[in-house]
């Protein structure tokens, strides 16, 4: 069953000014509970606007967002409740940290949700654990942490609301390769433990290929493709025409295929590529 459904969603910024710009145009999609959706698209393709409409931060000018089959704007006064169900981690979330200690900052969301002290304590420690923050760090000021730790603390602040759907807007931007891997692995561990739905906006095709069940491709405010990761990355040319690309390893394998080697479609990571090449060499009797 689909947990979130979007019907004919449109949004234009600055209506009636010289700066008018359509960000999302007549977009429809449906996502099942427990899926990991990779969102890719060129800068300015409307990804950020779309994800902000999913939790009611932006009110669509036309169209609907259905959460568990109910329009989130049916009761505009209760839009805050939606935000606890659809957690949103913005780009560079570390700039939203504000409280005296990391612990207090993470508890901001649960407190707004109206949980009791005991529940808050439990969920804050659990969330901190998910993102790998030690108990010692919890008592420090968020402004004394390193860049990567700040990022983690901010993500923990959203996870602490225990949302059914978690939206991450470029969670790894500006992190070093090691930090990226670690963060993504932790997010995926959290996903498996909580079995929630995840939207992950990313410019890194490698990250998307590694973790997403399905990929949605945005182009000029429209939904260009929404399909399994394999199928989306099989269309290298179409992606390139939208200023995107396929993962590097996929690109190499496609090039080999173009040279006449017998290689299957939809190879998304180095392990798969390795097996495919070994098989090919075995078939040709070279090893």
């Amino acid at each position: 069953m689909s947990i979130i459904e979007v019907k004919n969603l449109s949004y234009t910024y600055g209506v009636g000014t010289p700066f008018e710009k359509t960000a999302v145009k007549d977009l429809s999609l449906s996502v099942n509970a427990g899926e990991v959706i990779g969102v890719i698209g060129h800068t300015g393709s409307g990804k950020s606007t779309l994800v902000q409409m999913l939790n009611g931060l932006i009110k669509p000018q036309s169209g609907q967002v259905l959460l568990d089959g109910v329009d989130i704007w049916a009761k505009p006064k209760e839009i805050r409740k939606i935000r606890f169900k659809v957690g949103m981690v913005f780009q560079y979330p570390e700039y939203q940290l504000f409280d005296e200690t990391v612990y207090k900052d993470i508890s901001f969301g649960p407190k707004n949700k109206g949980l009791t002290e005991k529940e808050i304590d439990r969920i804050v420690r659990k969330s901190a654990k998910f993102v790998g923050l030690s108990d010692k760090l919890l008592e420090q000021s968020p402004f004394d942490l390193s860049g990567g730790e700040k990022r983690r603390a901010a993500i923990a602040g959203v996870i602490a609301m225990d949302p059914d759907i978690l939206v991450l807007d470029e969670p790894t931007a500006g992190l070093d390769p090691k930090g990226r891997d670690l963060l993504l692995t932790q997010i995926m561990q959290y996903h498996r433990a909580r079995e929630n739905t995840i939207f992950i906006v990313s410019h890194s095709m490698e990250d998307v290929a590694r973790f997403a069940d399905r990929v949605m491709v945005m182009n000029k405010g429209k939904l260009e493709m929404l399909d399994t990761t394999k199928k989306v990355f099989a269309e290298a040319e179409r992606l390139e025409s939208m200023g995107l690309r396929v993962p590097q390893i996929t690109e190499i394998m496609l090039a080999l295929k173009a040279k006449g080697y017998e290689i299957g479609d939809g190879i998304l990571n180095v392990e798969q590529a390795f097996l495919e090449i070994v098989n090919l060499l075995k078939k040709e009797g070279k090893i």
Partner: protein, 270 residues
């Protein structure tokens, strides 16, 4: 949210008002403000109104934006004109107790409201058609004589440039932080005054932190490019007075002459 402020917003363009030298525009703005307050009868007020409407028509900025900037002051206009209406002297044409409506009062109300509207229109025209950097450049040039009194003209202008430059950046940042805290369930709409002020903490602290971070970054970037104040600094774009500016000045002088002549030959009504 914060994006809807029309007053003081620059609209890029290439019309003749845009191309006029910013120094000339500032001086002409002061000039026009003086003229607005020199119109004492309907003919001269008409001349000034026509002149200002011509300027804003030439500015190639949509009337909607001018209208938006007027919306901000509509209450001031209504209140001042209402007050003026009942403060006139002379023969009352309608009376109720101590409140009396006179012809001179009505005239005064009309003049006051037209003057305020014109004032806003012409000042908006300056900010709509002049980029903040041009504006501060021009202010720096115009304030140059103050150096004689040891006023740090260049530093003041630089501070203004930086402040203006960061207004949109900080607005955008505020929007972002507000969205992020709202996403964490922050409630900024309901509750009393104290609760509302408290609800601002999660926005103000990150905003201050980021403002300081930007200030540090900017200071470093400026030092890296060997900035050390205005001493001996030259400009990439130096300002020149050209034909367009002279036409603008001539036009304004003409309007002033018209207004003065009208004042001399037609009896004032206020």
């Amino acid at each position: 949210m914060t994006r809807d402020i029309a007053l003081g917003q620059f609209v890029p363009g290439n019309g003749i008002v845009h191309r006029t030298d910013p120094r000339v525009k500032i001086i002409l703005l002061i000039f026009f403000i003086t003229i607005i307050f020199c119109a004492f009868n309907f003919v001269s007020l008409g001349i000034v109104t026509a002149a200002i409407l011509t300027v804003i028509a030439l500015s190639q900025v949509s009337f909607k934006l001018y209208f938006k900037s007027l919306k901000v002051i509509i209450f001031i206009v209504i209140i001042t004109s209402l007050l003026n209406m009942f403060y006139g002297t002379g023969e009352p044409i309608w009376q109720f107790g101590i409140i009396k409506l006179t012809m001179s009062g009505i005239y005064r109300a009309v003049f006051v409201s037209v003057r305020i509207v014109l004032l806003i229109l012409i000042s908006s025209c300056l900010t709509f058609t002049t980029s903040p950097t041009d504006l501060t450049d021009a202010i720096e040039r115009l304030m140059k004589p103050l150096k004689f009194f040891h006023v740090k003209v260049h530093e003041i202008a630089m501070m203004m440039t930086i402040a203006l430059r960061f207004v949109p950046t900080l607005l955008e940042e505020t929007d972002k932080i507000m969205a992020a805290q709202k996403a964490r369930g922050a409630d900024m709409e309901s509750g009393g005054l104290i609760k509302k002020v408290k609800a601002m903490t999660p926005i103000l602290i990150p905003l201050f932190v980021s403002a300081f971070r930007r200030a540090y970054d900017l200071a470093t970037a400026m030092e890296c490019r060997c900035y050390r104040g205005g001493e001996g600094r030259t400009r990439m774009k130096s300002l020149h007075i050209n034909r367009l500016d002279i036409i603008g000045i001539a036009f304004s002088v003409l309007v002033l002459t018209g207004v003065v002549l009208c004042n001399v030959f037609i009896a004032p009504v206020v």
